[in-house]
Point group: C2
Chain length 364, copies 2
């Protein structure tokens, strides 16, 4: 057995061990195929089965209604920032509205502004994105091209608990960092996109759920690689898709269904894991200072500061000695960030909580 | 040992067995890291080393001059069809010139036409793309935005032996299906792109070599995900790259250098493999009818017809019994296609040649 660390990386992030083990076992030859999943045609029966499975599992896990298409794309969330605006804003004469809740909301907004008229209807910049708006604070224009939100901000560690009612305005959501971490009401959304490398798999594939009626709004003559309707029409294969990344996504979904028991259970486990860390933060007598306001805390990325940057550096170094790795916060927020996505085992979080308590006692 | 077939898939295609074995061995934990290559941050030291290695190996194998950048992107060759035109054609007032040598040249042309003025200066349609132009047939305009060519057409099985002298007009080449299969004179090109899933790795990563001066032509305000200059500036990481696909690409390049001994040797092996098959075709007394004119034959994709579609179906079925798989030709050309990229072992080609001889004798 290879010695593995507890890896708190914000993404690419830890994967479920059974997924890694199955991928390893079958890497030279998929059972019955005689070739690696990396070597087979994207139009082969074997890959068809993988793709179909991945789609069916996501649909089942999230309860996706029939009037939504599910496609797999490349380019990460960043390309989606552009695609959303190229498919649904450019040339419409309308304005897209953005909720700026942190680094990713801002990045999405920046790309949209290159494609058309976009405006921020809420911006948490003045308090360094430490909290989120209440939904009734959002003044959404009835004729907006769409409303864009980011369900979880990995850098700031803030997460929405639900979604606003946007009426007839399509709600577009970057769910990259909490996709498949909890149940959601898909019906509330026009489009959901999520790169896989947080909760759902590895870098290189992005899942996109699109309501049928939005596909009719896609302009003609878009690049074949940038056209949601083309991806829907060709079942994610206008050209060769990232087959291996889709395979891992499928294995992760199987693990979510069969080992975890679905998204309700996954959400309960994630809530418990996050509570372990926030409890240490809250009971540290001010030694650990959380970045996010308590009601907006992310269950995925736990962000906090220590009394000094020296102590933060020491914290990261001492933790690594205990094989608790990748805890350094993003430079824009500083401090510590523990990313505890689906595949981070409770034992890893317990080890971190224990270390945090010990460290606070030693240094506090 | 897992039983493996000889997989003649046109891509995703066979990988070198030692690459698969190393990936399998280290899949749960990269040596010294304690986490899978699929789980580590794209900004970690471990991934930095992989990326740097992949770049250095490709530069060494191809002898890339210092005034070329090498970046890794997502989206396959198809996205490059668009990017080339968005970065170097749109808004220039110029015309891009395309050489249409088969399905891929046409696909690239189609996407360019969506972005600006593009015209075909040679089109092999009337003879179903069975041969290529001589370079002196190409009348390249001195003020063309660029000349686009496809070095190898996987569907028709035609391949250029070199490249035209385009003077000051940048030569842009889709090398997807013969990249790293032979030495090339990079200096003749302005830009070379190649998806990895033929000779160089797996689906999900595309290598792009760009001459420095072309980067200065990239328009401002392009989407961050579609901007070559941004990829060069951020060393392929404007956002999370397809880490695992880059890792496999790096392993394939190491295999090319250490096991094969470089591209001269790889080209010699590929030439020998192709000769084995073309010799059977040519000595079959007309039983096997090659699609490509002899002087334009691809060393990567060997395409031919049999006397009837029934015999072709029988050929594919009988071959599969011998674990020679994925030999069915593309519907647009029909017949048989044997893709024999770098990683197809000579033994696999020998087995196919033997089968072809036997089949012709039995049925001819």
């Amino acid at each position: 057995m290879t010695e593995r660390v507890y890896n708190f990386s914000p993404g690419p992030a830890v994967l479920p061990l059974p997924v890694l083990e199955q991928a390893q076992r079958d890497l030279l030859s998929l059972p019955g195929v005689g070739a690696s999943v990396m070597e087979i045609s994207h139009r082969s029966k074997a890959f068809d089965a993988i793709l179909t499975d991945a789609q069916a599992l996501i649909r089942q896990l999230l309860g996706v209604p029939d009037n939504y298409r599910l496609v797999f794309m490349q380019g990460g969330a960043h390309l989606q920032f552009t695609l959303v605006a190229q498919n649904f804003l450019r040339g419409t004469g309308r304005t897209a509205e953005y909720v700026l809740t942190g680094s990713w909301g801002n990045a999405a907004f920046k790309e949209a502004q290159k494609e058309g008229s976009a405006r921020a209807i809420w911006d948490g910049k003045q308090h360094n994105y430490s909290h989120l708006p209440a939904f009734n604070e959002l003044k959404i224009s009835a004729d907006a091209a769409y409303l864009h939100m980011t369900s979880n901000e990995t850098i700031q560690g803030v997460q929405f608990k639900g979604e606003p009612d946007t009426g007839t305005v399509p709600l577009v959501c970057d769910s990259s960092s909490d996709f498949l971490s909890r149940p959601i009401d898909v019906r509330r959304y026009g489009l959901i996109y999520a790169c896989a490398q947080k909760n759902a798999g590895i870098a290189g594939v992005t899942a996109v759920l699109i309501r049928d009626d939005l596909l009719e709004r896609v302009p003609k003559n878009l690049s074949a690689s940038l056209d949601y309707a083309n991806f829907a029409k060709t079942d994610s294969r206008p050209n060769t898709p990232p087959c291996f990344a889709i395979y891992i996504l499928m294995l992760v979904c199987r693990w979510l269904r069969d080992e975890i028991g679905g998204l309700e259970k996954m959400a309960a486990l994630n809530t418990q894991k996050a509570k372990l860390l926030y409890d240490v933060v809250d009971s540290s007598g001010g030694f650990y200072r959380p970045h996010a306001r308590p009601d907006c805390r992310s269950l995925m990325n736990v962000t906090f500061r220590l009394p000094s940057e020296e102590l933060e550096a020491e914290f990261v170094k001492d933790a690594a000695q205990l094989k608790l790795t990748e805890l350094k916060g993003h430079r824009s927020v500083g401090g510590i960030r523990a990313s505890i996505y689906n595949a981070m085992p409770r034992a890893g979080v317990e080890a971190l909580a224990q270390f945090m308590g010990d460290f606070a006692q030693r240094k506090g």
